[in-house]
Symmetry: D3
Subunit: 320 residues, 6 copies
Amino acid sequence: MAHKFITEIEPAETINDIYLVRDPILRSTTKGDLYIAMFLCDRTGQLNGRMWQASEMVYKSLPKPGFVHVKGRSELYQNNLQIVVNTITPIDPSKVTVEDFLPRTTGDVAQMFAEVKQIVGEIGNASLKALMGAFLSDKEMMDNFCSAPGGMKLHHGCIGGLLEHTHNMLRVARAILPLYPHVQGDLVLAGVFLHDMGKTEELSYDMAFSYTDSGQLIGHINKTLLMIHRKADALRAEGVEINPEVLDALGHIILAHHGQYEFGSPKLPATAEAFMVYYIDDLDAKMNQVNAAIEGEVSDANWTAFQGPLQTRLYRKRIE
Amino acid sequence: MAHKFITEIEPAETINDIYLVRDPILRSTTKGDLYIAMFLCDRTGQLNGRMWQASEMVYKSLPKPGFVHVKGRSELYQNNLQIVVNTITPIDPSKVTVEDFLPRTTGDVAQMFAEVKQIVGEIGNASLKALMGAFLSDKEMMDNFCSAPGGMKLHHGCIGGLLEHTHNMLRVARAILPLYPHVQGDLVLAGVFLHDMGKTEELSYDMAFSYTDSGQLIGHINKTLLMIHRKADALRAEGVEINPEVLDALGHIILAHHGQYEFGSPKLPATAEAFMVYYIDDLDAKMNQVNAAIEGEVSDANWTAFQGPLQTRLYRKRIE
Amino acid sequence: MAHKFITEIEPAETINDIYLVRDPILRSTTKGDLYIAMFLCDRTGQLNGRMWQASEMVYKSLPKPGFVHVKGRSELYQNNLQIVVNTITPIDPSKVTVEDFLPRTTGDVAQMFAEVKQIVGEIGNASLKALMGAFLSDKEMMDNFCSAPGGMKLHHGCIGGLLEHTHNMLRVARAILPLYPHVQGDLVLAGVFLHDMGKTEELSYDMAFSYTDSGQLIGHINKTLLMIHRKADALRAEGVEINPEVLDALGHIILAHHGQYEFGSPKLPATAEAFMVYYIDDLDAKMNQVNAAIEGEVSDANWTAFQGPLQTRLYRKRIE
Amino acid sequence: MAHKFITEIEPAETINDIYLVRDPILRSTTKGDLYIAMFLCDRTGQLNGRMWQASEMVYKSLPKPGFVHVKGRSELYQNNLQIVVNTITPIDPSKVTVEDFLPRTTGDVAQMFAEVKQIVGEIGNASLKALMGAFLSDKEMMDNFCSAPGGMKLHHGCIGGLLEHTHNMLRVARAILPLYPHVQGDLVLAGVFLHDMGKTEELSYDMAFSYTDSGQLIGHINKTLLMIHRKADALRAEGVEINPEVLDALGHIILAHHGQYEFGSPKLPATAEAFMVYYIDDLDAKMNQVNAAIEGEVSDANWTAFQGPLQTRLYRKRIE
Amino acid sequence: MAHKFITEIEPAETINDIYLVRDPILRSTTKGDLYIAMFLCDRTGQLNGRMWQASEMVYKSLPKPGFVHVKGRSELYQNNLQIVVNTITPIDPSKVTVEDFLPRTTGDVAQMFAEVKQIVGEIGNASLKALMGAFLSDKEMMDNFCSAPGGMKLHHGCIGGLLEHTHNMLRVARAILPLYPHVQGDLVLAGVFLHDMGKTEELSYDMAFSYTDSGQLIGHINKTLLMIHRKADALRAEGVEINPEVLDALGHIILAHHGQYEFGSPKLPATAEAFMVYYIDDLDAKMNQVNAAIEGEVSDANWTAFQGPLQTRLYRKRIE
Amino acid sequence: MAHKFITEIEPAETINDIYLVRDPILRSTTKGDLYIAMFLCDRTGQLNGRMWQASEMVYKSLPKPGFVHVKGRSELYQNNLQIVVNTITPIDPSKVTVEDFLPRTTGDVAQMFAEVKQIVGEIGNASLKALMGAFLSDKEMMDNFCSAPGGMKLHHGCIGGLLEHTHNMLRVARAILPLYPHVQGDLVLAGVFLHDMGKTEELSYDMAFSYTDSGQLIGHINKTLLMIHRKADALRAEGVEINPEVLDALGHIILAHHGQYEFGSPKLPATAEAFMVYYIDDLDAKMNQVNAAIEGEVSDANWTAFQGPLQTRLYRKRIE
């Protein structure tokens, strides 16, 4: 049976489907009865859920968060749709169609990651080479790198999105570096590879996309800088020499890659390499964002809806 | 004898050299004597010139503007250096070392233009193909395209700079288009080729770089749009069909290629192609600007001077 | 029978009235039944329409867009009102009360246009006189000029609004020009007359107000510049001399008349005439906008609702 | 003998002329000798002055500020021109050609003020009529109103400039009010008349233009509001009824007449009348500023120098 | 019986409770029947109310605004909840639980005001001492000062909020003044005490929080300045000398205490005292705003909802 | 003999004094003679120095940078003062009056640091206590903390300035924390103590104030975050537990303490503690900056010169 998506639910429907439960709370009404308030979600959105006449046992049985089978009914409450839950049962994640909850890149993850490794492998500078090796050989981090989304909303917001974005940026970098011979390619490739690595810690993406507490307090830019220094410290502890000037030039690329203060970069680009990573990142993100907006709307109209972050509608018609 | 550059002149020097005279004016002193006020220039800057005890005949003999042989002396006046002119004689431009007055691209103009024609020649869309042909076969316009600077100051500010910039942008476009298969390459290539064509009318660059009156009032973005429509009107008068939707999609790229209102674009990018041309333009300009700043300063310091338009100093040291 | 306006429709009403249908699409449900999705509109707004059990024949009979007689019923769906259509029949536009679909200026169009011609007729400069003549004798363009709205939303958003706005601006210009004797009145009057002429191409206003594709890609400012040059080219082809400096001074007024980059002007005002046209345009637009906001709300309150574009509420009470 | 203007003085000239002395200070050198540091000014600028071997008697004789006869010599000191003073003697202001120190409106002050009174006299609203009478009958304030400059630098920076500016604004208001019948003319005329009245207290303009301490701390906008309330309080004390709502509507015009927060207006325009006064003020100021820039430069060039506050050069050439 | 709060009402409920009625209007339907439109409010929000089959007599009986007992029923109309009123009867304010309509500070008003008086009493400068005395002895103004809210929404939005905010700022000022010995404490304390006094006139807070007409046109900053000058004028009329320089220094603190033009300050801080009052005000407001956001949401989540004015969500979890 | 300060040197003076030499370069003239270009500095500024007829031996003897005894003469060259060096001899730093080269706090360093330790010692949270201990027991870092300036220019720009600023901020925090009982004092005190610790690495201040390469590429905000994590890693390696949530809350304070993106903070304050540290930092910096501007100018005028960063002149006169 096809999953009933959150955005497809209308008032007064019978509900009998699997959803992700988040933030369940056990409360008591003014009369003293216990009830559970919760959010029920899938990849299209979330609704409030209310289970009246609940018990502490049911509450304790719930994953926080996790997948559950819900039976109940939708209703309008104060002009907002909510789900009145009759029964709620935890479901083993292995029985869930993950794609109903998290969109996934259409690219081939293994092939993309292989090409990433190959391009990064071309780096010659000794300090950078050692550093890249430390990242590439960190199995857990690379698994996260291959799973994390590229962002929450604007672009590459899917499982594998970070890899897809980084992979394409590396290909762009390799394509244009020969046209700018004064630019230090090793720095650009290393900067592109690592530029958003901190997103693996900033975002949570096992059941739904959200920010981690630590990610929201510190941000992926600074987390990436910390990762680089931690890897360098570990290499030095093993006796591998890492040139501090190389580390600063690379760190500067990370800190400056949003290009402007108002986009959260604490430093403005001050090297050709930092400028190049900033432009490649912005270009690849915008190409993905524009394409997603044009392809994402079911419409025959020549124009998409207004795109807030771009401050314009997008023109969809192709030339002939 | 080597040319004495304007920025090399110190107070109380004897002057005996060729300069460009601009804006000469014949005036009379309070005592009734005639004198000529003028600017004397070369590619490094300009100084006020004053010829006392001048005559109307001398004034009439001067090119306005043009090259002159000046004999005189430098002096400080109100803390500003000026040249007191004893004799001033028009010089035939053919006898002038043009490079003393206008910097020139270090690239090979013929080869760059040949490659531009070749890349633009790959465009397949019928309307764009006809339009590109009309531009490429306009001998006078192409001569200007090969001579004009890319800008007054920030980037590619040299004879042949517009060609150098456009040529490199076309190479970047061709390198990355395969990585963005949904982007319409014909539009991008046509947009890159024409994006700054109006600079041939906006700027004056026969003896020194300056804005034309018309260029300053109308701007190169709008001049380019007028050029495109004039070419299309002429083709239509000859019976060649030009799809108006193609014209609008191309015109939009031109209008939006500065990317933001505050940089003089009257339209924000609303197509993938407009975004791509904007990013390639900005990337190529910044790479040139950063490199020029780093190479342009005679200094062993690790940092350049503060770069106003970039709001930072630039780091010059290369990694090891 | 009075028209039931879109904003007056409540849930669960019987619908039997004429509306404008836009963007109808034929789709099939998951079960394979055909249905038509569409927008139903009048001058007060639009609603989603759904015709279930539709046929390709009905779909083909629909104007896209155009007027239709709709029978059906309103209902709430996911908290949004929509119309379930039972029958839908094309209606001849001649049978439609146009005012139900497009608001119309309360001014006397013939009289306003006569006064526009009279004031513009006072222009003495030969080039401008010839150019104004070319516009005024273009019957189709003048018909559009008398019908087009002054804008989509903010001010003069009604049939005839462009004429009403231009007419009043010309009267303001004529009233204050004697107080600024150094300002070139011919340029100001020509600039005012033409300043928004491109809106006749930027906007569509036969059945509802919207942007044309071309208008949204190019914008009315640049369309006006193209119109002026096309008229000048045609005059020159007929042997009429048009001073290019006059054309540039006029073109500059058009390009600069929004006064600031962020309002879509690619040039900042650089002549007294460009400043004057900018101020008269802004003043007349704001007077219309403020008055419309104050008169437009049915309320006895001393203050209007918050006006987003003005960043304030407006005070309605008059002094005694 | 013609006055030697500050900007005309070159190094190593003999000085023997009248200047305005400001901020004289008596100091002692490291050796213990007394000297006087001071500024010497006229309407073209100011220079540092130094009188070595000064005495306390000379210092005490100096007006602070005031006119003095200076004998001495100009010299360069650390690249700045200064005047070494040999003798310095106070001069009676009556013996000074005031125009050497303060530029003066070219308009006819008596005639302008008469017309101001006549236009303001047309106000019919009782509260405003009484209030206007209180201002017009305040002899000292009206004398200041006829003398004060319109501003320090940008526009109407001359003795009588405030009157000239207000007078022309009143004529503009009267010319366009009939075209906006819903606008309350009485409020507009009163608002225009008083809009900058606080400049009579904000600025000092007896010997040179400067800000008063109080003016710089409080500003002319707020000073004007205080003046209006003080006049209203006085009228009420005499038994004249002043409608507080009228006072607020008028006060709002004053507070909002710079139109935007960043130009020092603590309130944004919220009435048609406040918008109109803002536009008339800005229009008249810009017309004066543009004309002054175009006429003020001695140049045959088509363009003025770059105008910082306008962010552009101005085009000077007139059409033919 | 507990009050049914506006935000607790669901569709199709029976209403039988006390609310505040605002802006009632008597209108007639198209059929000619009379009805009353009104707003019904309490401290949690407001809803539209409609009384069909109303009479002029009922309309005249209504307070405008005031408390009423309403019987009727809630219903959805065009997706908005409204109350259909069957009977509506004025209620004496003395019978109303005021806390249902206006939140109230949790602090002890008498104690806070006593401490305010004590701290302000430490001011030694004669002019300021006299001025403070004039304010403190104005019984009506001090009653208002103890009742007024600190603001409409962002911070201290409760009865007594202005006192609570001012009281805490005075304590902060007293705590840090010893650490900045060059700052003139008398000016800071006087500035803090009076900084928002104009809110007593800007806001209306007898039955609900709203802006007065006068408050919205003039603003509390300018109203405070007028209050200070009126008090000073009165003292001078009684023969008490008030140093005008002290008045300007104090007035400057008031005008500059929002710190930036865009927050409605017509002057930027130009004294150490003005800076200090600005910082203390901003600190105390933000501490209140942050705490209210964190405490105000019923949630166990680590983060609050997005806070528009702060452009971030707030982190609620405490460290261990 | 008193040091001749750079800003006191006039043209054509004999120079015989100690200066700091920076960036000396050995070059050859067009004739082939060797010369040395260099900067000569003290705490008041720097001048170009030129030693003609130099030798490689002299060049090699120079510290780069370091203190030297210079004999020579000042002269004007292209309107800039420069020093023509006859002899230049390295000087042992111990023989230099350091105060001539670096301004120094007027506070008592030992006493301030003792009080810092005492206040920081009051922190009770275990993780923070351990972390503070690790910083306080790092002898080299604490020496730097006691020497570093608070900034390059705006505030506390002197040896010991960072300590002075941090010390005063801690005192302010301690004074106001009791007034905000919901704020977690441990976090505020730790945040204040460490907020600018990265300046010890960002700035160089042994002979003159400048940015280090690393400091300019990475910035003190990010350097501080790296320091904190390095200390925490070291503690954990020793078996001390550091709560990662405490680390994130502290790191957030550091990242957000500039309060706004445009001031280089990559995160906006999202906790009460982050807001408080931001306000205390800004207050203390501004108090120092305002006082320095008012005290720093030798002038009897009521107003300082225009202060660019504050966008105003400052009023110096004290009330009576």
